[in-house]
Assembly symmetry: D3
Homo-oligomer: 177 residues x 6
């Protein structure tokens, strides 16, 4: 069987890695799809990294942690929530189980007949995308929050400078605007 865990992974941090380990350990014979949401977005405060950069982070983090049987796949937004479950089904290979702590995601998948489970969150206040991005923007204290190969990759990308620029912008502004 396959499970599906959807997130934006902006960036992929230790909280994500803990959940992936937990889910993989609970069902070692299952495969796990990591659906990379809002895949079309990048260079905004909420979504600073491209789909490709996020897939790269996940590959490096899981390779470093020797986690196997995980498929990371991009999910661009469709902007019509009533169609979202059917859209995800059409985009991804078959999955049977959903892992989420998001109430709307739970509701939509349950309404479509899926079994939904809630992975245990570790230190949610600390391991949250918004927190990691704020520390990246300030340039300090972010490295302990992400897997080491992700930290190296974020330095390579110049992520602190990028986040510093994005923090001060309106979330929907185009470049040049």
């Amino acid at each position: 069987m396959r499970g599906l865990l959807v997130g934006r992974f902006q960036p992929f941090h230790l909280g994500h890695l803990a959940i992936v380990r937990e889910v993989r350990a609970a069902r070692p014979d299952d495969e796990l799809i990591l659906g990379v949401g809002s895949a079309q977005a990048s260079y905004t405060w909420k979504n600073p990294f491209t789909s490709g950069e996020r897939l790269e982070m996940i590959h490096r983090a899981l390779g470093g942690a020797r986690v196997e049987r995980v498929l990371a796949l991009p999910i661009p937004d469709i902007d019509r929530h009533a169609l979202w479950v059917r859209y995800v089904e059409s985009l991804l290979p078959r999955f049977e189980r959903i892992y989420t702590n998001n109430p709307l995601t739970r509701r939509l998948f349950e309404d479509a007949g899926y079994a939904v489970e809630s992975p245990k969150l570790v230190e949610r206040a600390k391991f949250e995308g918004e927190v990691v991005r704020a520390r990246l923007a300030s340039g300090a204290g972010w490295e302990p929050l992400v897997p080491e190969p992700v930290a190296a990759y974020l330095r390579e990308l110049g992520a602190p400078a990028r986040l510093g620029i994005l923090r001060d912008r309106s979330p929907t502004a185009e470049p040049g605007a």
Copy 2:
């Protein structure tokens, strides 16, 4: 002749019904189109119900109230306001009169040469979509604000639980995000 009244009807409440009655009574020989705006949206705080659910509410409410000669038709957003009047003209059957209390809608239709009238609003503070949604989310006090057949339908849909989930989300977040 036909008139046009555009709203989002999230949900269709007694304020809407009062306006429809008033407009129908003032010109009993006219037909009235209810244009269901933002028809593509659903499962967000501003637009919790699908186009289809909103059309269903309107049919039940008007059937229950024995209001006739009303056509409810969906209008998906086009996101280019300068084209909006022309877009509505191309989407809907012919109409000659506009009923609206929205100053931008009034301005755009007047610039295109239409006669625009303002229906009298009854107890605006009470009969407003935002208020009805907030009460639905809290689970109490919403039923007196909507026509009885709409209340029954909202219960059938599990609307209070849906609104409770949507209240706590960022307005533009995708599921899973």
Copy 3:
């Protein structure tokens, strides 16, 4: 209960009217939705008339024929067939039965669990949109193919001249191209 019949109605002709009568007569207590497909399209050879013009034709034809309990509603294309049934469900009020002679429409709705019926077609070769449009473009012989109120409306729109222009254009060309 409600049934759904999807078509493009370019234009609404006597073959459509015969099907509507047949479906209404078979189940007089049901309502029937006419879903006006490709509602966003107009001024092309395949889709010469706007959604609004097609709704107007249907209202006049059904009014003239005293057919009741029919709702005509626009369905803009979504261009993702795997999501189409879910999309139509979200756009329209509840329906339980599908009437179609289109094998893909049948297949998609059956896969989603709907009962699908095939209305009997009368003189298909004659009563077909393409044939009616070709006669409109040639300016002769089209009037016996459409209900009288539709013929009057098509004359009012200058439909023969419009079709004459559109016949000679590439189906996807923009104006000016």
Copy 4:
């Protein structure tokens, strides 16, 4: 006053230049807008050159021919013909006169109340985009069909090789498909 002439200019050839000269000579005090249609398209057989490349061609050709008071402006497709005139009005600075030999463009602008004129075409069979593209693809005989500065620019772009590749592809295929 300003006039508007819409085309795709794939590429800008001597037939286009002759029309621009004629229109400018007939009304030397008017400005003329060249609306570059299907501006979003490129690297297809019908639209091999980007909007930017086409604007560059026009600037070089008009500079070389010392034609003044001409503004070349991109018009991306909107894919809803009923809105097209209103869309062009919202995109471009004010214009009062239309120059076109395209019957649909004429019809849409006339319906919106514009005066439309037909420029005289010189040797239409020869000076047509499709012909120029076919010769470019074959690598021979295209240079006499375009203004000299455009020929130089097309050589700089490697246009014959690009057209050779595009000729053999389905018009809607994505790269990689």
Copy 5:
């Protein structure tokens, strides 16, 4: 050579004119492109004027100020920042230099290998689009902030009334909503 300066020009004010003069004076042999960003937007608080209205303002302002060798060209949003530079390159004629004070625009163009310069801003607090729009909405004190031909054009458009309507609306609301 050509330079590119991107802005939304909502509206085109004296701060913009000062920058254009400065850039033109520093390199009198260069052409300058003014890229009109968010060109698809209009009738919102952030983007009250259509692309066409903004191009008209720029033409009148530069004509009045006798500034030459400037091309104003619309840039509709593409909503994918990672593609933005490539998109602008495909839309506009060739440019080699970028003028911007926007850090994200600078970053994206520098990452693509462009030379980027920062024009000196005069009295930024005063000459800013938001400030000019707020004064327009209040109906007073806006005229000294824009070039005289722009002031005349804004009066012609009824800009103060338009801005008064738009100030009170949610930034993403459709008309009728």
Copy 6:
């Protein structure tokens, strides 16, 4: 290093498998990305299978053939060829080499500075998507053209019946049209 091979894989057949084996054998230390093009499309003659179904085929085929270090990732169309390479870069994790026999894909990636190689095609006339789809539609002779696990999966999907329906439809028709 990573290589990229883009195709639509409608369906994934033995010709595709041969190329994947060849590329993997030539550079056993590289990873290979299979980019699944036109990922948004399905239920058309050219694109009968959803992105998810195609990913499922690839996983089963490569699992059955014990091919490792291959990532299959969806690439929805962007419909702007000039942006396509940049778009693919933003969507996928880093890649350095391109494998393609498509001249436009080659040209676009070479213009962007990539090394491009042409894999050897085996029996191209036989192992081509169009041929496999035609045999599927006729119901006979298709099984020897696909890997055995793909054949089993196609039977499970009812692929011959689906292809039979799609063969007779216009390529761009919506369901119901």
